[in-house]
Symmetry: C2
Subunit: 550 residues, 2 copies
């Protein structure tokens, strides 16, 4: 009843676990320690605090230790670092960082919620003033102070992941010239290339400088303050550098006592959040997840998951009853100016890597009725297993509503939905909210057309690599064609296709191009009727083609 | 190959089926007939056209017969009424309404897509000028013309279903005094009372007069134009009356040839859209649906479903392959000013009627992070089967994003999700889009707390009927309490509960009240600790309590 519970870490997972245990068992004696001075804060809000979208620090910090105590009755010791776990003695050595005093805390059950920390590559200049990562409240306070002082004219964000991009947006909105340097060939590394490049073009159009396929070698400074970022291709002036190349799970305490780590390097836990050691639980960013699709360990350090893990652990710690979190999908979403981009499940690349034979579709559509004011286009990419037709993943991007289709598809994947199931969902329709055939349903229709051989498609990535091997026919009107088309395309408006098709070489692969893929599909059916066999449509049309047009 | 296909009806289901058949089989000889002069129009957009949100008629009409012909190669004969099917001869008698000429059309396969028509109760005055229903383009044109002429000062909408409400909103936005008369005790009849009344209060606050539990007896006029609506309780002046008490499937043609109708009165079809007669299909509003939850016939005349039915029939008609639509959930959504209200699956009332032993939860929550500008509250009502924990239905209402949770839950229900599954969904989270524990997940948490006996709740409808049997304790601060609370409540702020609980009668049922239910839940846990046993929380708090406060 009066069990002693020690929780290490007090942001999302630790506080959630502690609060839940106390609700389940008011007699539990819970102590939470954290080396930070802030607890229960919105890491996810830090970029918006930097940009002033979130005005006040107090909005960022969901609960102070006093609030938390008042609400839950639990003591959180801030500026207390856990140094060492003694698993046989069931104690933890904790240092009071203010006094330097070290104390032993006894536990019956231990919750490790030590989270993750930014990985800072070991380059020269990383310790200069003006170089930050964005993980803690103090990081955000310091960056915002610099920004508000007007001390920042040029900023470089190292790393084009979602945190780096959110920070870039917020700095740009403060009239700072922002450059992003990303090692791989596009920003948003977990996304497939055509989606990521769409976002990249959008950010570039907004005036953010983006350098991809480029490696930061060192940082240079003047008087101890950063002044330059040196990459393998250029030098970029900077009075603020944001290091945002990824995070690593904080596993030192766990490793020391031999807790099993998973292949991702995070602490291995089962669906009950139990580690390899009895009475020790791990939750949040320090712990590993199971990918629901592959059944393989994965690591998705997300606040949404951290809260769920914390709650599940809380129930299990306080009760005989077992609650479980069987796995996650790696669902993520990011807002970039007015563009939204989301991903759930496996990318095409990851799906292939995992050994699936995949089929994909890339389908632009309106988020709301085209006659309802304010509708916007979104592009859905679906990835399915060719054999079972099961949805493996999706990415959605556009200025329209993206979080809704993400969540629909994430929910569907969770239950092993096939593309045929997606087509038949009874989704909510009225003009202010959706279209009669919702974008997700339409994307499923198109994908099934591909699976059943009703149409052949070519993805922009593939087309770009094969521009010179195919006959590209733009079936839009001449005006649209003149404004910009795929390099090498000839123009035969769809209305003239029956008449002018004879000019095409039946023996050479034909790629039909329109604005979003629909007109190309209808033209494809015409060419089929005329006996053409080697025809494909450019999926997503010119709208989703992220490469140079002519 | 060159099969003759005749389609009767040319709005959503008929055009969709025809277009799909032609794509599947370009040799098919398809004729579509409709008695209307407009085809392929957005019935769903009519209220917005009346209000001018949709400015142009051409936006309403998705495709003219010429467009449709150009796009699909299919002829649509407008102003052609199908009079009689001869199923043995496989012909249909069609009257050219312009010339009066009657012709026989042969078919190999027939698609009935005759839709639905407004039910106009047989009351006196229904034929007066100024009395309309809202179903066709011509209805909307005529109403808008009157409105734009400034000829309408006062309008009465008979029927508080979603179409009536949308029209009421649009008329109100045109500075017309609008009254709604609804026969049952609340607007939005398919919704549960507490949700419907929430919408009703909202509409009333916006200045719409709402008379529920009231029956329209007759309409009176002057010089052939309507001037008054007479109900069983009052007379309401009106120069425009919208009759919107429901629609009925157009089944005359089907009935005449003995096609089986289902218990709902619509044409019975199987999952392939086949009627009881070989080679005759029925799709859209004239046909019946299967409810995926009850497995029982139901009738949901929705544009979203009509399109899906049309496409499924199209595939089946043109191919050996069979596509199917196994059923729907009756998902609906409506925007009322800035309020959004949605429903999927069974209401609590319907679930009980269907014989389920149900548990429900009513949970307000923010749609986005509370520190992100523009977040709004939404209220989720979940209905589950107590035995299996399967989700049976949900209703969501509020100024925040409602269509997303609706679609998440509709998707989950489709796959037989339990409340435990909802809790664990890996939904997309970033501050501009959601909260770390999304509203749907939170609602599932609360519902499971009820199912496992962690908390007892009382729904506002029940509390209102038992106000005098219980001790009501408002645990909010005194300021909030003074502004308005549940009739009969005493105020014990939660912080003082440990100290002041002894003043409560342990033997009389206690209902704890706060703003949304969360503080009441935490207070409930305190009282439990103090040995109180007969305690409940008011679900949804004062925010979701739609009755009079004091
Ligand atoms: C800029 C940014 C944006 C983000 N955006 C999103 C988003 O949009 N959506 C989303 O889902 N997630 C987002 N996240 C991730 C989310 O913030 C994390 O997943 C979440 O904070 C993890 O919570 P946690 O409690 O597991 O770990 P952490 O937040 O890392 O907290 C761990 C705590 O443990 C303490 N600690 C570590 N070791 C010790 C020790 N030895 N002794 C004492 N204390 C210790 C740390 O000081 C820290 O306070 C974002 C994160 C950042 C930084
Ligand atoms: C105001 C309003 C708002 C709506 N809002 C929504 C919404 O938000 N979401 C949603 O999903 N749905 C909504 N709907 C419903 C949606 O419009 C219908 O479900 C859809 O139009 C049904 O299409 P249908 O083709 O089956 O039938 P209908 O649209 O009814 O078309 C049937 C056609 O067949 C013709 N016809 C009938 N009998 C004959 C005959 N004997 N010979 C020749 N022609 C014949 C009719 O004249 C008509 O043109 C709304 C409807 C209205 C009126
Ligand atoms: C807030 C925090 C301290 C957790 O504490 P918590 O007390 O569990 O807080 P919550 O508000 O989530 O939930 C409180 C309880 O009230 C319940 N509740 C909430 N609204 C309710 C309502 N309307 N009616 C009834 N119960 C309600 C919840 O179900 C929960 O109870 P349960 O878990 O026993 O089911 C922790 O999540 C945190 O620090 N969050 C901020 C940091 C963070 O999440 N960062 C990462 C993302 S940026
Ligand atoms: C529009 C209408 C005539 C149907 O005609 P349609 O030709 O099927 O029209 P759509 O635009 O829906 O679809 C065209 C085809 O292009 C495909 N398509 C659409 N976008 C595509 C893209 N980006 N890439 C590839 N294919 C695409 C679709 O999958 C569909 O093909 P399929 O059914 O063979 O898979 C009919 O739905 C209608 O009249 N609607 C308006 C009325 C209405 O729906 N009212 C009720 C609601 S208010
Ligand atoms: Ca318990
Ligand atoms: Ca075919």
């Amino acid at each position: 009843m009066g069990e002693k519970i020690l929780v290490i870490g007090a942001v999302a997972a630790g506080t959630k676990a502690a609060a839940k245990i106390k609700r389940e068992n008011p007699k539990a004696q819970i102590v939470v320690v954290t080396r930070d001075e802030y607890i229960s804060y919105a890491g996810c809000g830090l970029p918006y605090y930097i940009g002033g979208v979130i005005e006040e620090k107090k909005e960022l910090v969901v609960k102070t230790p006093e609030d938390f105590k008042l609400l839950t009755g639990i003591d959180v010791l801030t500026k207390h670092e856990a140094l060492k776990i003694h698993k046989e003695a069931k104690t933890v050595e904790v240092e009071d960082m203010t006094t330097g005093e070290i104390k032993e805390y006894k536990y019956d059950k231990l919750v490790i919620a030590t989270g993750a920390s930014p990985f800072i590559p070991p380059i020269e200049g990383r310790d200069l003033k003006g170089v930050f990562s964005v993980r803690t409240v103090n990081d955000a306070l310091a960056i915002r102070e610099l920004v508000d002082q007007g001390a920042v004219k040029k900023a470089v964000v190292v790393g084009g992941g979602f945190i780096g991009l959110e920070v870039a947006e917020n700095l740009h909105e403060k009239n700072i010239e922002v450059s992003i340097v990303e090692l791989i060939s596009h920003i948003l590394p977990p996304f497939d290339e055509e989606i990521a490049l769409y976002a990249q073009n959008y950010m570039a159009d907004k005036g953010v400088n983006i350098y991809t396929g480029e490696k930061v070698l060192s940082l240079e400074g003047k008087d101890g303050r950063v002044s330059k970022v040196i990459t393998d291709k250029r030098e970029i002036a900077a009075d603020l550098v944001i290091m945002s190349v990824g995070v690593r799970p904080n596993t030192e305490l766990a490793k020391e006592i031999g807790l099993e780590l998973g292949p991702t390097g995070a602490i291995r836990v089962n669906e009950y959040m139990e580690t390899s050691e009895r009475d020790i639980y791990a939750v949040g960013d320090c712990a590993e997840n199971m990918n629901l699709i592959t059944g393989q360990p994965a690591w998705y350090p997300m606040g949404s998951t951290a809260n769920k893990m914390g709650r599940v652990a809380g129930i299990n710690i306080a009760n005989e009853e077992k609650d479980s979190l069987k796995g996650v999908l790696g669902t993520t979403i990011v807002k970039l100016f007015k563009l939204n981009a989301g991903k759930t499940g496996l990318s095409e690349r990851d799906a292939r890597k995992a050994g699936f034979e995949v089929e994909t579709a890339l389908v632009p559509a309106n988020d709301r009725a085209h006659y309802y004011p304010g509708y916007r286009e979104i592009i859905t990419k679906l990835v399915v297993d060719k054999k079972t037709h099961k949805i493996l993943g999706a990415q959605v991007i556009g200025e329209g509503v993206v979080d809704k289709p993400m969540d629909i598809i994430a929910t569907a994947i969770t239950f092993g939905a096939k593309v045929e199931d997606l087509e038949k969902l009874d989704l909510a329709y009225a003009p202010p909210f959706s279209t009669a055939m919702a974008s997700t349903i339409l994307a499923a229709n198109v994908l099934r057309n591909k699976l059943t051989g009703r149409v052949q498609g070519i993805n922009p990535v593939e087309l770009k690599n094969r521009l010179h091997e195919v006959q590209i026919v733009d079936v839009r009107d001449e005006g649209s064609f003149m404004v910009g088309t795929i390099p090498g395309a000839v123009n035969i408006p769809s209305g003239e296709l029956y008449m002018r098709a004879h000019a095409l070489d039946k023996h050479k692969e034909i790629v039909l191009v329109c604005k979003i893929g629909k007109n190309a599909y209808l033209s494809y059916l015409k060419l089929k009727e005329l006996g053409f066999e080697n025809v494909k449509i450019l999926e997503g049309g010119t709208n989703a083609y992220p490469y140079e047009k002519e």
